[in-house]
Amino acid sequence: MTRLLQKNGWTLGLALLFAALLVFTKVIQPGFGLSGLDSLARAALPFAFATAAMTVVVLAGGIDLSVASMMAVASVTGARLMEGATEAESVWIVGFVLLVGLAMGALNGALIVLTKVPDIVVTLSMLFVWEGVALLILQGPEGACAVWLTELIKGGLTLPLIPAALTVWFPKAAVLVIVVVALVWVPVRRSKLGLSIYAIGSDPLAAFRSGISLGRTRIAAYAIAGLFAAFGGLALTMSTGIGEPIPGPYLMASVAAVVLGGVALTGGKGGLVGPILAVFILRLVRLDLTLMSVDPNVTTIVEGTIMVVVVMFGGILAVRGRKR
């Protein structure tokens, strides 16, 4: 039990911080309730997928600067194909967009492995490439989104056989994040591939000597990131009902959430739950700053300061824990 607590200390701390912030929000805005949780989850949706994508490559010892651009490609591809498509056709379109995401990620990884150019340089170039591709697909904000997709993230959860009152407080958008991340990441994490991703992230040489294929593992990690980015792009289309070719502010936000989520930027250490909790914390902080009508130019300073303070606090706690 204590080992479990120690191992997941950071994540637990984030969960407590999130709970404390929820209480604080309720105090400053007594009207905060179901609709508040719903809008929080919907705001977090694209950030959560961008962060999941970034986390996987960071765990493998890399970094993907093209996350936001891949999201834009996925979003405009989906929105353009869904214009005039039937609901049934849109199911295939979703599958196609996810495949496009997987392919974009795999291409990122393959370029890094084959050219031996550092991750940061390749993905920086791909940031511009995918941005251009998105603009080729749609010149302006246009397109459409299937109704079942927009309904997927609207309102609270209702399940058959269970009274709605028990589940309705839990936003569907949050369910979508949990289900998608679990479906993709749990099988990977439990397989040899998951172990290999952590291994090449913490010590590539040791991993190589243990017989792990560095190149293949790296390509797989980037492909998974591409898949998550595609989910992020679809989340954008679900929210706005259209596709926007210009990438949104998801790159820096995902790096921030990865750091706040307790993942080492050097790779091999951390998980997916922490960063996603961090996304929810950062969105809730923005909500609180809006509720308190803090000067918009001060808002970003506060957001940055909170991040540094939390990471610093965590660092101090970790050092103390080790001494004891």
Partner: protein, 341 residues
């Protein structure tokens, strides 16, 4: 862990008190997705100044950052959570934020979209009348040319909504002057260097022309005439600081600036307050008419002189107010202070 919690609580308390001040009056939310652009900064300052001088606004919640439509959805929903009475928004695009606008109007919140339209029918739209913008400038130009001759027609960006509206206004004026012909029609893309090259190319052909109409790429056109030693013809531009300065100082230049004020933001706040007070406009779409400042009339000269304010940000459009809508003074918008600041 305990420390982490204590730290959070302390942080929370520190920020908490900032929001505790409550006064009588409306609470208005603002959402804007472009930060650091002169036109948009003027818009936000106009919103603050108008809210302050109206005396009816207790507080402003401003979400002003660089983001996409999804981020603006978040901002609007946060403003709904903050319990505002009205939201004035410069939309990221026409369709992407409809869902949140519908949620706001369903909650009884007045939503006014300024500058650009949204397709959600429950929102009010207040924007500059771009058709009229082109019409009054072109009409002045054709009159100044004596009702005959040829004109160089320098448009904005092909396909842009504002450019299409302006083209309709220009054509309407052209129809009223049968002896005026368009010598050359070009798209500047609203790019300074491109516009300058295009007019230099046309001057080089040696074909005479009697006037230039521009869609706001104006000061470089005057520069091109002056630098190439070509005799000046009447020129129409926008109320950009550079061009308005030239209208006051360049020897022999006869020209007019048509206003395209960023202060529509202030007008949007004024409209939101009117609606909250129970005075609904006849139509959901309200257009603000531009004014024309020509340096060949005493009235225009006075307005051009008044706009030469060294305290004014050179990146701002110089028309800082909209007659009939905004009630603040130039000093108040430059101060950029909202209620409670």
């Amino acid at each position: 862990m305990k420390r982490l919690l204590q730290g959070t609580a302390a942080l929370g308390l520190a920020f908490g008190f900032a929001g505790m001040a409550h006064a009588e009056g409306y609470k208005i939310g603002i959402s804007n997705t472009v930060q650091g652009n002169g036109w948009r900064e003027e818009m936000v300052c106009a919103m603050k100044a108008q809210a302050l001088v109206s005396g009816k606004v207790a507080s402003l919640n401003i979400a002003h950052r660089n983001t996409d439509a999804a981020g603006q959805l978040e901002d609007i929903r946060n403003l709904i959570q903050a319990g505002v009475n009205a939201i004035v928004v410069n939309p990221a695009n026409a369709d992407g934020i409809n869902a949140a606008i519908k949620e706001a109007t369903d909650a009884g919140i007045v939503v006014v979209a300024v500058d650009q339209a949204v397709t959600e029918p429950s929102a009010y739209i207040l924007s500059n009348n771009q058709e009229q913008y082109a019409y009054i400038g072109a009409k002045w130009l054709f009159e100044t040319m004596g009702g005959k001759g040829s004109v160089v027609y320098m448009r904005g960006a092909a396909g842009a909504g504002a450019d299409n509206d302006r083209d309709a206004g220009f054509k309407r004026a052209l129809a009223e002057f049968p002896d005026v012909k368009v010598a050359q029609e070009v798209f500047t893309g609203w790019q300074q260097d491109q516009g300058k090259q295009q007019i230099l190319d046309y001057i080089a052909t040696g074909v005479p022309f009697e006037g230039v109409w521009t869609s706001g790429i104006d000061n470089v056109i005057v520069d091109a005439f002056v630098e190439s030693g070509t005799p000046l013809v009447p020129i129409v531009g926008a109320d950009n600081a550079g061009f308005v300065g030239q209208l006051a100082t360049v020897e022999g230049l006869v020209g007019a600036a048509v206003t395209n004020p960023g202060s529509v933001g202030g007008a949007g706040v004024a409209l939101a307050i009117q609606i909250l007070d129970g005075q609904k406009p006849a139509s959901n779409t309200v257009l603000v008419d531009p004014s024309l400042w020509a340096n060949n009339t005493d009235d225009g000269k006075a307005q051009i002189a008044a706009a030469q304010n060294p305290n004014l940000d050179p990146e701002w459009p110089v028309s800082v107010s909209i007659p009939g809508w905004t009630t603040y003074s130039m000093d108040e918008i430059i101060a950029c202070k909202g209620p409670g600041e």
